[in-house]
């Protein structure tokens, strides 16, 4: 298959621009990142600098990869990360636009690589249950209904890739933050720190420069793990509830 790529190239401290590359003779079974590998190998052979992009596990779980492809975070296919998107999903001869996540809280480092440390800052503020190693009671001491465990798992699947932020017109991190808050609020282990957690994580989210949620729903559509935006309602409830009780 042949493609024409329009790729965002940007060096630190400079303005970026879209640069055109021809990607010819690509196998339809190649993943999107493998297609970029091929393009990069050819660039190096021509003594040009390859396109920088983040990636690691290449099986949709580490959350390291992600670009906006033709206007969609992780590409147009639902429920997939960029590394799981295959070239057979594109028409032969098509033009493909590849851009980095764009958000104030995710500054571009180079080309398609952005700094997502703001997500770590949100978790650092309270995305955990404080428990000292070795001091836990027996795993079966507290039965947890299967439905509750399953619901917690549905949100715990978040891979922290940032697609929700990239897709949101406000660059809001509400879906990401709500996934962690919901997981821990559902579980009995998470109750002790429930109030302070909601307060601290929301404050950290705002401090990092993410926007507010205005119910566009783009986050849910872009999420490779299909996490529901119902969780944002829970986040608001947790936040308001904890504000009143404070």
């Amino acid at each position: 298959m042949d493609f024409t790529l329009k790729v965002w190239r940007q060096k630190p401290g400079t303005q970026g621009k879209l640069v055109t590359y021809e990607a010819k003779g690509i196998s339809s079974d190649a993943s999107f990142l493998e297609m970029l590998d091929v393009v990069n190998e050819r660039l190096i052979e021509k003594n040009e600098e390859p396109i920088a992009f983040d990636h690691d596990c290449r099986e949709g779980i580490c959350g390291m990869c992600g670009c906006v492809v033709n206007g969609y975070a992780h590409g147009h296919q639902g429920g997939t990360t960029l590394c799981q998107l295959h070239m057979r999903e594109f028409s032969d001869g098509s033009v493909i636009y590849v851009e980095p996540w764009r958000a104030k809280a995710f500054p571009v480092i180079k080309d398609l690589v952005v700094n997502r440390s703001a997500f770590d800052a949100i978790i650092t503020a309270g995305g955990y249950i404080s428990i000292r190693s070795g001091s836990a009671p027996d795993g079966n001491a507290m039965p947890i209904a299967k439905e509750t465990a399953d619901a917690a798992m549905d949100v715990a699947e978040c891979i922290g890739c940032g697609a929700c932020v990239a897709a949101c017109p406000n660059a809001s991190a509400m879906l990401f933050t709500s996934a962690k808050i919901t997981q821990l609020a559902l579980l009995p282990q998470g109750q002790a720190e429930r109030m302070t957690r909601a307060q601290r994580m929301v404050r950290a989210m705002e401090a990092a420069g993410f926007g507010a949620c205005t119910n566009h729903g783009e986050c849910e559509a872009a999420c490779p793990k299909e996490i529901s935006m119902d969780n944002i309602a829970r986040l608001n409830r947790e936040f308001i509830g904890s504000s009143i009780k404070k």
Partner: protein
């Protein structure tokens, strides 16, 4: 090189307790005076970093990804073993210990394995308390499933994303300590050198992957939690960034490297499909609970799988190993798949594949029942292959997955360099010559949460603070070495890309030192590696500069170390003329083509010592004692 394993004597069930009591302690007020470097943020690194910080030590954690949550532990799918016996099916600490020693083909230390089985139960408790959403039964208790090499259900799981959930648990514990000011994170930072002075590890030299800055970090102890070296084969189930550099650099500074030839080839991966392919994807071993493996009985049978009637299918694992069936250990399953393909009965366009069929399971449980257990794995398979595994059997083939070999460590998890510790997959200690499924997560967390935090205290209490700071000549020398290597890589200005060398090396190893190894193939590999190395240093092309984010340069540095490391891997495989676990020498097999050990000559760990550039490394041995599990020919029939 002196190899004192420090393994305790006495009744095995009391060894760890007694040993812990004898270890020296650092009093709570003094702990804050000690700085510890942890390299790697996977299950082992994050759990160790969090626990050491909780104890009061000052921790600095380094990793090459943008966040600690990305480490490749996250990709582990199926589960984590523990001897809880919640199923009441006869499990016990002793049985888990026994299964692990036997599964490792009697090439691991009994004392270490027993300790691992003993602390396994605490891991589950710890993770539940952190909010890890393990699968549960309707009554609210934890659910279990079975894994290869065991006849009990002892594997705890969180759908097909157990590694992710455990890592996010350890990550959250680490971040709570970042919040407490006890852990400092260094993301997008790669370790390039270990600094050793006066016989003690004193710190590391790193490269900031964003700015290119090469920096020194001094500490009282260094913990390497840097994972395995499976990517030496280029194609593996590891993440693209996984590399051997940290472990290999430690080896060059005097850390013994044990059993590098013990590599695990996982039987259930999606088959290779093209030259451009960048990695292989694992399909969890848990699938073998319900999937049935088969190939056509007839050679070169090109019919579609659903057109092949039952009596023309060879369910070879069920026939050959009736008591374990599809759940034989990984090494056995992989070799059986290779044998079927070598006989010309492989499936798919390349003939390198076997079927993993869920037809019966779908009939028994319904599609929804199968989806409940394996939904995300089926989804992943369909994404990659564009085939629906609920309707058509999966095609699978073995792929490099895990490395049992690693830095040699004593019972304290300390390498032969005092003050340099290795935990998780980076060390060699617990899995012998073959790791059982769902045991990697167990070992990573055991080392990090429950072993290292005790043993490192003994070293610090005995040795006190390190007096070497970053102005010391050992640091400046290491910085010069690291910077010199970067300049050298950039200065070659040849024609070939780093990946092209990596692919060449990987293929050489897979063909000659993969699932079957012989004197001839290993010698052929040994003859070829220096040629690859020579061309690498003459004809490599790295674009860009060293003072910026330069992924080509990162790859080049890692490939350079893989090339050097490959040589010890092959030498180790050549020296071990027996077959054991994942190491299969075709000269050493039973009449039924199973791996044939030679306990008289090889009941030991082989430990390689670096002797200098261009010098042959020296092979040392640590004899293994078996007081409880008497070595026998492993049988899963």
């Amino acid at each position: 090189m002196k190899l004192d394993s420090k393994t305790p004597d006495g009744p095995i069930e009391k060894r760890w307790d007694d040993y812990k009591f004898q270890l020296k302690l650092v009093n709570p007020a003094n702990k804050r005076k000690f700085d510890i470097i942890v390299v790697g943020s996977g299950l082992a690194g994050a759990s160790a970093g969090a626990t050491l910080a909780q104890l009061g030590y000052n921790v600095r954690c380094f990793f090459y990804q943008d966040s600690p949550r990305r480490a490749h532990s996250i990709a582990a799918q199926g589960g984590i073993n523990a001897a809880k016996n919640y199923q009441g099916d006869g499990d016990s600490v002793y049985r888990l210990f026994y299964d692990t020693v036997k599964g490792g083909d009697y090439r691991a230390r009994e004392s270490n394995v027993y300790r691992l089985a003993e602390v396994s139960n605490h891991i589950i408790d710890q993770c539940v308390a952190q909010g890890v959403p393990f699968a549960r039964e309707y009554g609210g208790n934890l659910a279990n499933r079975s894994f290869g090499g065991a006849q009990v259900s002892r594997t705890f799981y969180a759908r097909g994303q157990t590694g992710q959930q455990l890592l996010l648990g350890a990550y959250s514990a680490l971040m709570s300590q970042v919040n407490a000011g006890k852990v400092k994170l260094y993301n997008r930072t790669e370790m390039l050198e270990l600094v050793v002075a006066d016989g003690r590890a004193r710190g590391i030299v790193t490269r900031d992957m964003v700015t290119g800055k090469i920096e020194s970090h001094a500490a009282d102890a260094v913990v390497l939690a840097t994972g395995g070296y499976g990517n030496v084969f280029y194609l593996s189930t590891n993440a693209k960034g996984c590399n051997v550099t940290a472990a290999y650099r430690a080896y060059r500074k005097g850390a013994g490297f044990a059993n590098p030839c013990y590599t695990q080839i996982h039987p259930t991966c999606i088959p290779v499909h093209g030259e451009y392919q960048s990695k292989l994807t694992l399909m969890s071993e848990s699938l073998r609970n319900d999937g049935r493996i088969w190939v056509p009985k007839k050679k070169g049978d090109t019919r579609a799988p659903l057109d092949i009637p039952q009596d023309e299918r060879d369910y070879y694992l069920e026939l050959r190993y009736p008591s374990f069936g599809n759940l034989v250990p990984r090494d056995v399953a992989s070799r059986a798949a290779k044998k079927a393909c070598d006989e010309g009965r492989g499936v798919g366009s390349t003939g390198l594949g076997v079927y993993l069929d869920f037809g019966d399971a779908v009939e028994r449980l319904g599609e929804d029942g199968v989806r409940e257990r394996y939904g995300n794995l089926f989804h992943m398979y369909e994404k990659i292959t564009a085939e629906n595994p609920y309707k058509v059997p999966m095609r699978i083939f073995p792929a490099v997955h895990y490395t049992m070999g690693g830095l040699w460590v004593d019972y304290n998890l300390m390498t032969t360099i005092p003050g340099c510790f290795a935990i998780g997959e980076a060390n060699f200690s617990d899995h012998g010559a073959n790791r059982l499924g769902a045991s990697a997560l167990m070992q990573g967390l055991a080392d990090g949460y429950f072993v290292l935090p005790y043993t490192i205290g003994d070293y610090l209490a005995t040795q006190g603070n390190s007096s070497v700071n970053t102005d010391d000549k050992h640091f400046t020398q290491a910085v010069d070495d690291a910077a010199g290597k970067v300049d050298r890589l950039l200065g070659i200005k040849g024609k070939r890309t780093p990946d092209s060398f990596h692919r060449e090396l990987g293929k050489l190893l897979w063909d000659n030192c993969g699932m079957a190894r012989s004197d001839e193939s290993l010698n052929a590999a040994l003859a070829k590696i220096p040629k690859i190395k020579e061309e690498f240093w003459q004809n490599l092309r790295v674009t860009g500069s060293g003072a910026e984010l330069n992924q080509t340069l990162e790859t080049a540095g890692r490939v350079a170390d893989f090339i050097d490391f490959a040589e010890i891997l092959v030498k180790d495989a050549l020296a071990r003329t027996e077959s054991c676990g994942g190491h299969f020498r075709i000269e050493s097999q039973t009449e039924e083509s199973e791996a044939k050990r030679n306990d008289d000559e090889f009941s030991h760990a082989a430990v390689w010592e670096y002797k200098g550039e261009g010098e042959a490394p020296e092979r040392h041995t640590e004899a293994l004692r078996f007081e409880y599990c008497k070595p026998s020919q492993r049988s899963y029939k």
